[in-house]
């Protein structure tokens, strides 16, 4: 990305094609969710249960990590722990060398996006190929996902036609069904030739040592079945205690994400192929990734961000995401959930505007299937940003302004006088447009460039007195 956040956001706002793509796709996803939830009377009960289970698991994460590890090992899984992106890349690179592997098929994983795994592997001269259609498109385009569940949401069929012609050398094809066939046939060859399959994980199941992965296309099944080696990369927070808890989470995930009662495929994988089984990978590695998660864990007030099951519902319902889209967020996680986890992973000073990119309308919290209180977390982060700025001596004027405001508000007489002065000095309905020189150049310039101030007429107190008098 180039330019300041304001510039790139402006470019998105004036791009009508992009605005249409974001608007229609998020509206469709939101509609599908609404329709699907209409047939789930126990929805609220499931949300509460999901929240309780996640809270319990996160509060006892150490126990469940160890339980998971020992159960996974008992089924022949090789559990790999990784502190950060480098350690994951080093592990895969080392594994590739040992196995003489080069071609790697990948299924969609936000966790691998988070650690830029493709770039890191390509750097080692490995060939990672994304196999989810949307991920494949953005990999060809050299971009990052636009949306947690619909990575190529911003691409039209015409963009895809150009991209396939340019990168795959196929005749230009604008029919979506035929484009899908092209991707299928290219990727089918890759699946059958690949040495390693890398997937993410939607859930780590502690009592089974299993990973659960959901999808619609079948590319995850192929990734985890066709190559001899399967590597699943999961953030440590993906843990749930029992296989039986899927009865809660799967019902919420599919419906919240794409409006499906269940996605087309759900894979529950416990270890590599067993002796009597006919096919499947000979080796299964599960990478447990920290990459900042234990730091979030330490924050009692905000650790609930780790409950997220990456359904994307908060994006589809966010008035900010629906205008600025996914690429204006500074990291792979966009939308409200991105606005709360990015500052926590990267530090609030990194992108201090992010927690403010919200109208606090509350829609994200309302649709969250695991009841993460996203609006509250945004406010907490705003407080942190201010504290951080104060520490660095920034934002003095703003703090002074609010201190004055607070003082005035605590002194009714002075407040009343101030209101009288304002309505006397600025009697016009559209006083701000009449007084451009006054505020248009001061510290409020940026704020006012996007807002109309309310007309200043009679104050509430004046109206109150007048009406009481009239009523008498």
């Amino acid at each position: 990305m180039t330019g300041s956040p304001q510039e790139t956001i402006h470019e998105t706002l004036v791009n009508i094609r992009l605005q249409t793509a974001i608007y229609t796709s998020t509206a469709r996803l939101a509609d599908h969710r609404r329709t699907a939830l209409a047939t789930l009377p126990e929805y609220e009960e499931l949300r509460t249960q999901a929240n309780l289970i996640k809270r319990h698991t996160i509060e006892n994460l150490g126990f469940y990590l160890e339980q998971f590890e020992s159960n996974a090992k008992a089924h022949g899984v090789q559990v790999v722990w990784a502190r950060d992106a480098d350690e994951v890349a080093d592990f895969v690179w080392d594994l590739s060398k040992r196995k003489n592997a080069r071609l790697i098929v990948k299924s969609k994983s936000m966790t691998s996006e988070e650690i830029d795994l493709n770039e890191r592997l390509a750097h080692h001269d490995l060939e990672p190929v994304e196999t989810d259609l949307g991920e494949y498109i953005i990999q060809l385009a050299g971009e990052r996902p636009y949306h947690i569940v619909a990575p190529a949401l911003h691409k039209t069929r015409y963009d895809v036609a150009d991209l396939f012609t340019e990168k795959l050398g196929v005749p230009r094809e604008v029919e979506i069904e035929k484009q899908t066939r092209i991707a299928r046939s290219v990727l089918r060859e890759k699946f059958l030739a690949a040495d390693i399959g890398i997937s993410g994980a939607n859930f780590l199941i502690a009592d089974s040592g299993a990973v659960t992965i959901v999808e619609n296309e079948g590319n995850i099944r192929l990734t985890t079945t066709a190559p001899k080696i399967h590597v699943a990369i999961a953030g440590i927070e993906k843990m749930i205690p029992r296989a039986q808890d899927l009865a809660v989470f799967l019902k919420l995930l599919g419906r919240s994400g794409t409006g499906q009662a269940l996605t087309v495929y759900t894979s529950f994988l416990t270890g590599p192929r067993r002796a009597e089984e006919i096919d499947g990978p000979d080796e299964l590695y599960i990478v447990l990734l920290d990459n900042g998660r234990t730091r979030l864990l330490a924050d009692r007030e905000k650790r609930e961000s780790l409950y997220c099951i990456r359904c994307g519902a908060c994006l589809n319902h966010c008035p900010v995401y629906r205008k600025i889209g996914g690429h204006n967020y500074p990291w792979v996680y966009s939308g409200p959930i991105g606005a709360i986890i990015t500052p926590q992973y990267m530090g609030v000073a990194q992108e201090p505007w992010l927690p403010f990119a919200s109208s606090l309308c509350g829609a994200c919290g309302e649709v969250c299937p695991v009841k993460i209180d996203i609006p509250r977390l945004l406010l907490e982060l705003r407080t942190e940003v201010h504290a951080d700025e104060a520490k660095h001596g920034q934002g003095r004027l703003e703090r002074l302004g609010f201190r004055v405001w607070a003082w005035v508000m605590r002194h009714p007489r002075i407040y009343e006088m101030a209101a009288l002065v304002a309505s006397a000095v600025l009697p016009d309905e559209r006083w701000f447009s009449k007084a451009p020189g006054l505020l248009n150049h001061g510290p409020l310039k940026a704020w006012l460039s996007q807002r109309d101030l309310p007309p200043v007429g009679k104050s509430f107190r004046q109206l109150w007195r007048e009406r009481r008098k009239a009523a008498e």
């Binding site: 996803l29 006892n60 126990f63 990590l65 299928r184 590319n219 920290d290």
Partner: protein, 210 residues
């Protein structure tokens, strides 16, 4: 310090503990509705049809075989090692290859087959789902690589839904390395949110209940 010990140490410090056996997690929420076996077929078929799958109630093994013959013609098809398919006389139909033990040979056959024929361990009535367990009888590839999947399942194997499955099989990993739910044909909506069926998995699915 190994990455493992380091991560566990950080988690321990972050949580101020959190490593001891915790108080029991919230009780698992498993709610199994009481629906008689006969009454499960209709909602199961409706769910499959809604997903653009085909559902057929076979009166007998021979009837199932007729359905398959009419559908696959000369094939090529690959059938799983399920005894049910042998009983139906499907495994030895012309154009059908079955009895694979070697993964590589199976993979070659599936990659060029037009039809994959399997049984399923269970079906879930409310979502129209097939529950596939990898075993000596069922391979993973047959329901995955060919563009058309045909599954044959005895009527008694239809469960009410996910809750009943997890109630009966609370730890799937004890019996198989791979439990896969198949809910309709493979699909995507990654370009313009327009639905396309048959991306990497089968675009067509036929479920025969005997």
């Amino acid at each position: 310090m190994t990455a493992r010990d380091d991560i566990l140490k950080r988690a321990r410090e972050a949580l101020g503990g959190g490593f001891e056996q915790p108080a029991a997690p919230p009780k698992a929420r498993i709610v199994v509705p009481e629906i008689p076996r006969e009454a499960r077929i209709e909602p199961f078929f409706r769910a499959i049809t809604n997903l653009a799958g085909k559902a057929y109630l076979a009166k007998s093994f021979a009837d199932a075989r007729e359905y398959v013959v009419a559908l696959i013609g000369d094939g090529p098809a690959v059938a799983s090692n399920s005894p049910l398919l042998a009983e139906c006389g499907i495994a030895d139909l012309p154009g059908v290859r079955a009895g694979f033990k070697d993964p590589e040979a199976l993979r070659q056959a599936c990659a060029s087959a037009a039809f994959g024929i399997t049984s399923a361990e269970y079906a879930l009535a409310d979502t129209g789902t097939l529950v596939m367990l990898a075993s000596v009888e069922e391979a993973r590839m047959i329901s995955l690589l060919p563009p058309v999947h045909i599954a044959i399942i005895p009527r008694v194997r239809i469960l009410t839904g996910l809750d009943e499955l997890l109630w009966m099989v609370p730890q799937p990993g004890l019996s198989t390395s791979s439990m896969v739910f198949i809910t309709g044909p493979s699909r995507t909506a990654d370009i313009e949110q327009i639905l396309v069926r048959g991306v990497h998995g089968p675009g067509e699915i036929h479920v025969l209940v005997i």
